[in-house]
Symmetry: D2
């Protein structure tokens, strides 16, 4: 039974993601993304589950930077988790008693409509974490009456779910990834994703176009690109890429080898099944068989055969 670190405390969306990605794993809450990844690097845990991006907030930059700069880790799985908020209260609490509500500011923002409609007179206050808010509400003598939290926080802290699905929009999603120390990659499934971090050799005009061309020439589609500062001044960036396919695919292997030759450094962050199971569309001439045929042909002509 593997032990996986995650962004705690207990009851976070990250824990909910971990439960789905690895139902049988032992769970180790960590204070922040860096601490969770540190546990995976040191062997304190066998891996970690951390958020990578959110469909409204965008990239979780701490995760991007930790994966780019820290000791090597590989993404071995991903999960798209709908962000569904519940209003958690101590057992027995009724509507008129809900006077002070706490949660993370992003969660408050996303539940603004519900709060104004259902409990317009309640005082709503910021708290560092949604799960932490539930923990606080559950604390003996807490001055707060309700927390906007993931539903799973209720069980941890002995709270009741006063209302569920209270977010203003129902389609917000967070993408979580499971990371592991370097080791055997997940098998290709035909619906895979590969993640990379590219550091430019020199930041000349057109460098980004050149990098994208390495993918497009081999028919490899990019699904995400994020620029991040190198720390060496405004205007100096490195790039996170996600592309379709598995590094074991010939076209992906050749594309990222090309990127490797173009870059000062290229870090491979893993190949893993896509959460949405959408199979990769393979452009004519870029399937493994096409590469095999071309490699055989190249060998023949190099040997002077017709």
């Amino acid at each position: 039974m593997p032990k996986l670190a995650y962004l705690g405390p207990q009851g976070t969306f990250c824990e909910a993601a971990l439960r789905r990605l690895a139902p049988d794993a032992e769970r180790l809450p960590a204070a922040n993304v860096g601490a969770a990844l540190h546990a995976a690097r040191t062997g304190e845990a066998d891996g970690a589950v951390v958020p990578l991006e959110n469909s409204v907030e965008g990239a979780i930059t701490q995760t991007l930077d930790e994966l780019a700069w820290g000791g090597p880790l590989l993404i071995t799985g991903e999960l798209l988790l709908p962000v569904e908020f519940s209003l958690l209260v101590r057992p027995g609490t009724e509507l008129p008693q809900i006077k002070r509500i706490i949660s993370h500011p992003a969660a408050i923002t996303q539940c603004r409509g519900y709060l104004e409609r259902e409990m317009p007179d309640a005082l709503v206050m910021a708290w560092p974490s949604t799960a932490g808010a539930a923990q606080e509400v559950a604390a003996p003598g807490s001055p707060y009456d309700a927390a906007i939290s993931p539903a799973i926080a209720a069980e941890y802290y002995g709270l009741d779910e006063f209302a569920s699905g209270i977010g203003d929009r129902s389609d917000t999603v967070t993408r979580f990834v499971r990371v592991s120390p370097p080791g055997p990659l997940p098998e290709p499934t035909g619906a895979d994703r590969t993640s990379l971090v590219a550091f430019l050799r020199d930041d000349h005009p057109g460098a980004l176009l050149e990098m994208l061309s390495e993918f497009s020439v081999r028919g490899v589609n990019l699904t995400r690109i994020e620029s991040r500062p190198t720390g060496d001044g405004i205007g100096r960036y490195f790039f996170h890429f996600d592309c379709e396919g598995h590094v074991a695919d010939a076209r992906v292997g050749e594309a990222i080898s090309g990127l490797r030759r173009l870059c000062a450094d290229l870090r491979f962050l893993g190949s893993y099944p896509r959460a949405d199971r959408v199979a990769t569309q393979i452009r004519a001439g870029t399937a493994d068989d096409d590469f095999t045929e071309a490699a055989g042909w190249l060998e023949r002509i190099r040997n002077g055969q017709a």
Copy 2:
């Protein structure tokens, strides 16, 4: 004398940036980036100064999203401000008395070396803002002894600068921009930058490559690209671009017109002098004169002249 909103409270780096960008302006502190831009949109202020990116932390996503989605505003100037931290104390405070230090967590992180070296036993605690920390330390009866803050906060809150330049690295920079309601653009200077927000018509593979090609074919260099989620689910992004040159330049005008045709929507965020005054290198065949010559030629051949 214009009135400019900024990210307050008094004494922030943002205020320091505003002072340099517009020394004579009246200054209106705002609670957050959204509030500062709102003041510029409603006419409560004549414009605003907000942070856009930091050389270590990266993009200020709240600014990116506000500029992309809110009412139209134009960037009319930019400033690169070194991030220099000072340790501010109440007058008369000496080293042994500094037991509790507060600041914004990012500032604490960046001054970790100084703190461990000079005052290893002090308790260091998080505060929502660096200027706010100075304000708190200045408050009568405050339990805190020192704040890591911008130097300019000292004058506002009657504090002394116990130490300056205490950051672990001396080259961190934040890029601030001045924004104004739509109106006449700054004149081209030969060392300009143009900012844009591009929303794809459809998010097909290769769309980003197509967008970059619109720039490269006209010899326009990109200096920054940031992807941001559209909110419509993981994998759906829009893009912030900065390119070299001024929209009044023929090559820039044609490039972004091409981008406009390619996009579902393209928002122009302004053309303005670069803070670093680096003149744009113009590729052969892409100067205004070249466009003028080609336009004259095109008119002639359309008229059937040789």
Copy 3:
């Protein structure tokens, strides 16, 4: 009634093409392509009809070079003429009497199957031109009995068509163009072609890719590209391009203006209706309306309007 020069003598495929392109024109045979174009340039004729390429033999390089280097002329129409050979004889000639056959070597090659099947014992000899061969057979006292010629040569020289359609393959086609002195262009029809000659500024690696990109970025398809030597040594070339669309189309105008800026010289050879009447497929975002909308937008943003 216009007078048009053509590649003579009377009875050539070129004359057949001229008759279809301009049934009412007065026809002026010329000794070669250069002479025909010379007549159009000097005003001796109002224009000329010359062959440009053949589906088996390829480009007619004399035409390409004359159009590139000589005084300016515009292509105003094109025709695809099937190459159909007939065996022409003096009236009354019967099979056993056909002992000596003459024609242009290319025509002999293309009728090899017929000759070997039907008259294996005949002597087949080369002649400089197919129509000239007919002229020779018709001459009093000619030692030759038959000519492989275009059918129309029969009427000129008083010969009979002994057999028609004697070519080994039935689908060979020659593309002829009508050229005129500079003047008003044919109106756009939605199924047009534009011809150009491009001289590189400097023959650096990637120059051809850059030229093609000027077309592809504006969604303009190339239908033909021919390299020709500049005369300045092996490895120095200029290029003939045919693209879809009319120079009056915004996307074509912008593409070739871009090419103009890229090139040491760009010669416009005309926009004219395609012989095959295939309508141009217009890529999303590249129709005239899209260019008009983008131009209006550009004007607004240059004026600082939102």
Copy 4:
């Protein structure tokens, strides 16, 4: 001692080229390019020397088509031969006696200035070949007095060189290639050229751009591109490419393997030393060592190593 076929008769520029390319070879004159290549294919000769392009006339299309469609042959060497014309006469002939001059029409054209200046009253007549003209002048009882020919024709036919270097321009060059049956390739020299024939899978817009991108992404420069008709109608072409480098170079091998995957058919025509000995400039990241490093890296990451 190898036997090499060449474009005869004796005394042609092609023979002059052969003598330089293979001084010790036995020489077998052939009636035309097709016959010379046929001899190389059947083993009647060990190879052949044929013209490929001329700096004024352009491609020798018969050679291009023979190499593309006939049985496989490999180019194993190339030579750039200056085209220098001499006026050859029977021994003892003096200026006043030169009344009738014969040569190939292209040679006559290129010596027009000399003829008009030195012997304006002479009658100049066309002959099928420059060497054949010398042969005719040498024939007993010939009505012709002089031939414009390569200098080497003089020795074959017992003629004298009345004048040499009589061409109007001194820099015309013909590129000849030596071809051999499939077999071991010439060793890479660092200044090599590779020749290919590419048949498109489908002739869609942008196909040529895609082909060029296969080269440019790997930093391989094209030095020549020629389009030729497939024979299947106007608008259907195949392409001859020459690129810098040797197929044994990693970047060239990968580029043409990519082209192979893109094409319906790709014929390799050989890698051989450049006649001009210009060393290939290798773009950063595309040397063999870079490919080796990247291949090692790829193998490691596929094995899950960091």
